[in-house]
Symmetry: C2
Amino acid sequence: MSEEIKDENKEIVENEQVEESLTEEALEDIVEEEINEVEEAQQLASEWENKFLRVSAEMQNVQRRGNEERLQLVKYRSQDLAKKILPSLDNLERALAVEGLTEDVKKGLEMVQESLKAALKEEGVEEVAAEGVPFDPNFHMAVQTVEADEEHPTDTVAQVFQKGYKLHDRILRPAMVVVAQ
Amino acid sequence: MSEEIKDENKEIVENEQVEESLTEEALEDIVEEEINEVEEAQQLASEWENKFLRVSAEMQNVQRRGNEERLQLVKYRSQDLAKKILPSLDNLERALAVEGLTEDVKKGLEMVQESLKAALKEEGVEEVAAEGVPFDPNFHMAVQTVEADEEHPTDTVAQVFQKGYKLHDRILRPAMVVVAQ
């Protein structure tokens, strides 16, 4: 509509030959109309500019969040499978603890154990330090206590029942330990 | 600058009392100036609108691609660790094939094998069908051929040297097979 008004006014002003002369009042009205038009259009431009700036900022946020999320997904991608493999490692340790294994069997079991540990290590899985270190509830689960002595000072891990594992900085399962008190 | 021109024109038109009457020509000039202003502002509005529309469309693409990528990352997250665990499964199978294992040791090995396979299966890892199926270069690597016979028709897998595995639809490693020809 504003486009129409503008074109109309333009025509009126340009066709001076036809409508020989416009009255001053008519011209003043046209000027005012045009001034309103300018304000309206500038308002509109500023609205679209703001919308553009908002959506641009939003897109940067979306991209930043997406990148962070992707990095996290990649970093911890092995978490689920690694967690599920830990019982196999436990079983292997138990099997290796059986008395009277032949050399062949022992070697075979150790090979499996080594290859599993190597695979996990490559993906960032590590054993949690336990035996002899200060008790840390972030990495250790106390299942029993013993009296502290010279060898096992108060609040250190005296014995490990089951190894704990972490993936980078994230705990997969805590070590089950006996704490000296 | 355009803002200044507009305000100036407005003042000129409104202060009729002061400059008692503007000539028609001066008024016509003002009208033309204002018309140009309108065009300029409308042009600007339409430019910002287009920029807004472009960046909005781009954002939708970024979000869609991000979601697709995330789904892929999650679906195949276990790929690297699973691949690295396959040699452990091979070692277990070899250990289980050793003659004269005691019942205890055999049971222990089978437990480890079962728990590993279960962990892999939960993450979507499956053995590739091989023995007796038609040879498929997508899943099988032919390392030897034998004469086809009644039991092993042409172009089927006659024997499996090493098991193959896939993660969902993606091959982790092909089965090493003997093909009947």
